[in-house]
């Protein structure tokens, strides 16, 4: 979530936005706090410079493939049973969550994918203490696609959560009709089980 656009803003709010834990020690000169506004070490800063700032976390997926008779998956599944992510975890409200899924899924028949059915999943595991990310903890994702990135807003996602503790998870899904025809082409050629693809989470 972005910091407020005006009014009172606290160091603790800034610290949490930067990925810190509420109520823990922080200073205005910490590298992660300065990074939100692009300031160098030791320069003069005022609190109103953090108005409307928002952190963005990114991860890189080394893609894998998971192919079944009628379904194909490309990217990261189940925290690394297929593919891998770097970093493996991201921070939500001060809690570190393992990235469960970041993949394109499509229907297939006879070994031939139907890219027009492509959907995109993003999922996070809960923590061992059962900390669960809010449905709307981010505003959108920028996902790599051939020729650039595709921005997919959280507000259009279908959200499903189940389980508890470290094996519980929440996932956000965008269906094929949440993408344009060209986006489906670009998404499919990027998320094809080879190479790496980046995902940026806009908060």
């Amino acid at each position: 979530m972005a910091l407020p656009t005006s009014g009172t803003i606290t160091l603790d709010e800034i610290h949490v936005e930067a990925g810190g834990t509420t109520g823990t020690l922080a200073t205005i000169n910490d590298v992660d706090i300065r990074a939100l506004i692009g300031k160098a070490d030791g320069v003069e800063m005022s609190f109103d410079e953090w108005y409307s700032t928002a952190s963005a976390q990114s991860f890189t997926v080394t893609e894998g493939s998971d192919l079944f008779a009628s379904t194909s998956y490309y990217g990261l599944r189940n925290g690394g049973t297929v593919g891998s992510a770097s970093p493996t975890n991201i921070t939500v409200a001060g809690n570190s969550h393992q990235i469960k899924d970041s993949f394109r899924r499509c229907s297939s028949s006879g070994g031939v994918d139907d890219d027009t059915t492509s959907v995109f999943y993003f999922g996070l595991y809960y923590t061992a203490a059962d900390d669960q990310p809010a449905d709307n903890w981010f505003t959108s994702l920028d996902i790599d696609a051939t020729g650039g990135t595709i921005n997919i807003p959280q507000s259009t996602a279908t959200v499903f959560s189940t389980g508890s503790g470290a094996t519980g998870y929440k996932e956000w899904r965008w269906f094929s009709n949440d993408f344009t025809a060209q986006e489906l082409i670009d998404l499919s050629s990027q998320w094809d089980g080879s190479g790496t693809s980046d995902v940026t989470i806009n908060e």
Partner: protein, 64 residues
């Protein structure tokens, strides 16, 4: 797989549907945009979309 969604009837202007779900191997929660057709809420289509998501999430290898 039997999937049952439970939710409060949405009011006019509501843009998302949220509630709880039970399925063969567990329970969970869901939230999804409400699909509109001709300006009115299409709850069967909304439920079908959400159910598909849950089905594919909980049994991804067997779904087509």
């Amino acid at each position: 797989m039997a999937i049952t969604l439970t939710y409060d009837t949405p009011v006019t202007g509501q843009d998302r549907l949220s509630g709880t779900v039970t399925f063969d191997t567990g329970t969970g929660e869901f939230s999804c945009p409400i699909i509109h057709n001709a300006g009115t809420m299409d709850l069967p289509a909304t439920e079908a979309r959400m159910t598909l998501h849950i089905q594919e999430s909980t049994d991804p290898e067997t779904n087509s």
